[in-house]
């Protein structure tokens, strides 16, 4: 491995980390302002323009709070849980492609931290580990509300992993590959020459099931029963304060960004440029008289921007849903998971498989 390759990988890791971690304060700000707007309030508007610096002040507030540890807690697991909560979703970003490739000094750099032929399975592996911080945090802090939150969290995550996996399996049948890059390449084709061949148009039911499942997996309203504040005070992270609570808070948003990136890659064309952007880049490339390398770089810029734009749309949807729908009851949640989504995703999988066998693809 040459120095160039090592630098390229380090650069990609730094870029992904900077974008993901840097966008969390922005989303928190949007969540607070957006909720205020939906509920007819003003929201935080004192710190900086439009209250944009509020999240940074919050970080200072968290960092300067008392750093307490409950007396009867299991110390190792109590400290391990928030760290694991951040690490598991962050690690999954390693296989998500956010652009085709850029050309630096005549060498092509794939815009994906690592390209594995198992792609999506690596994401599933890391997503499976996301249950542990919830269970650990609730159990180790030795609090009844915490344990209830942990039990609710782990049971709902396990239940919805089935619908999640089955809707994913139907998309794997459509694309015929585990490789996320090839999935995006497939979605760059078009129907009848103008309609993009995105997963959402190929298999809308699977998209719907996947969307509901990621709301449950990330513990967001209307499925935030593990931390339901009116019943469990704060659920599994009730005994966490100061920076340790901030890590859970951070982890929730990192997991949301991760889930949205997977959703975008599978169903919304991934880094495929938005309709019109491709034409814009093409005319721009010709009018500026760029070399073919620079044209590719410009295209990659358009792709990365399109990807971030799509993920941002899903994040806005997350916030919108959170402040619109009330919380489900636990039996309703389980009924929805086991009696509606599970059979529906199974039927969808059977239908997709037989349809593909019928058209012989």
């Amino acid at each position: 491995m040459s120095l160039f390759d090592i630098l390229a990988i380090l650069g990609k890791v730094a870029f992904v980390l900077a974008v993901v971690l840097g966008s969390v304060p922005l989303i928190v700000w949007f969540e607070r302002r957006g909720s205020a707007w939906i509920q007819g309030r003003v929201g935080p508007n004192r710190v900086g323009p439009f209250g944009l610096f509020q999240p940074f002040v919050d970080v200072v507030k968290f960092a300067t709070k008392e750093n307490f540890v409950p007396r009867d807690s299991s110390k190792v697991y109590y400290h391990l849980a928030p760290a694991l909560a951040v690490v598991a979703p962050l690690a999954a970003f390693a296989v998500i492609p956010f652009g085709s490739q850029i050309i630096v000094m005549g060498q092509a750099i794939q815009l994906q931290i690592t390209q594995l032929d198992i792609g999506i399975l690596a994401i599933l592996a890391f997503a499976g580990l996301e249950i542990y911080p919830v269970m650990l945090a609730g159990w180790s802090s030795n609090n009844k509300y915490g344990v209830f939150g942990a039990l609710r969290g782990s049971s709902q995550m396990m239940s919805y992993e089935i619908a999640f996996g089955l809707s994913l399996a139907s998309m794997l049948l459509v694309y015929g590959t585990f490789d996320l890059n090839e999935m995006v390449r497939y979605q760059q084709n078009t129907f009848f020459g103008f309609l993009p061949k995105w997963g959402i148009l190929l298999n809308p039911l699977s998209f719907l099931i996947f969307l509901i499942a990621i709301f449950v997996e990330t513990n967001r309203l209307p499925f935030d029963l593990p931390e339901g504040d009116s019943e469990l005070v704060a659920g599994y992270h009730i005994e966490y304060g100061a920076t340790k609570f901030m890590m859970f808070f951070f982890a929730e948003y990192v997991a949301m960004i991760m889930a949205s990136s997977v959703l975008v890659t599978l169903f919304l064309g991934g880094y495929a440029t938005l309709p019109g952007v491709g034409l814009l880049i093409h005319t721009l490339g010709i009018s500026l008289d760029l070399t073919s390398d620079n044209q590719q770089n410009l295209l990659a810029l358009g792709q990365v921007t399109s990807f971030i734009f799509k993920v941002a749309l899903i994040m806005i949807f997350y916030v919108w849903v959170r402040w619109t729908l009330p919380r489900f009851r636990f039996d309703q949640l389980m009924n929805l998971g086991w009696k509606i989504l599970f059979p529906l995703s199974l039927i969808n999988l059977m239908f997709v498989a037989s349809f593909l066998a019928w058209i012989g693809g």
Binding site: I118, L121, L124, A125, L129, Y132, M135, A150, L151, S154
Partner: protein, 170 residues
């Protein structure tokens, strides 16, 4: 890389057996499963590595930890009676195992190991288009009857679990 992971697996399995707290024991097993996945990934079997983590660390061990937490098992202070027959049996079995290991170690020193080559060498897998394609061709083209039979086992297991659970409730 493999050496470090193998050492970790050995140490973790010893810790798992010796841990007094069942939660510690379970978490040693979780990390052990992830290390095993790491070993598979290090020898280039990414597919098996991912399955190892998804199935064992992500599903099986979650259920184990879940049930330990639900039953609220605490540290067990077992007093071992050195004169009980089970201890004697265990000591005897350990001596026999160690003897076998020592003998096989010296045998291995003298004998030359011949690699057994199956049809799936690294080149053959690459020609088939990767681990996933090789495995799926094997599973769905050559051994589809066996695959379906194993699939039949799952409903049987579910029905069995239901029967067992229902008897307790009635």
């Amino acid at each position: 890389m493999i050496e470090a992971l193998t050492l970790a697996v050995v140490i973790l399995s010893i810790m798992m057996i010796l841990a007094k707290n069942p939660i510690n024991s379970a978490f040693c097993l979780v990390i052990l499963m992830i290390c095993l996945g790491g070993i598979y990934a290090a020898i280039g079997a990414h597919f098996v590595a991912a399955l190892q983590i998804i199935v064992y660390a992500g599903a099986v061990m979650v259920l184990v930890v879940f049930s330990i937490m639900l039953m609220n098992l605490n540290e067990t202070r077992s007093s071992i009676d050195l004169r009980s027959p089970s201890v004697l049996l265990a000591v005897g079995a350990t001596v026999v195992l160690l003897a076998i290991l020592t003998i096989s170690f010296f045998e291995w020193q003298t004998a030359t190991l011949k690699p057994v080559s199956g049809p799936y060498t690294l080149e053959a897998i690459k020609q088939l288009g990767g681990n996933v394609f090789a495995l799926s061709a094997m599973m769905f083209a050559k051994g589809y009857i066996q695959f379906e039979l194993i699939g039949l086992l799952l409903p049987v297991a579910v029905a069995g679990a239901l029967v067992l659970a229902k008897r307790k409730v009635d």
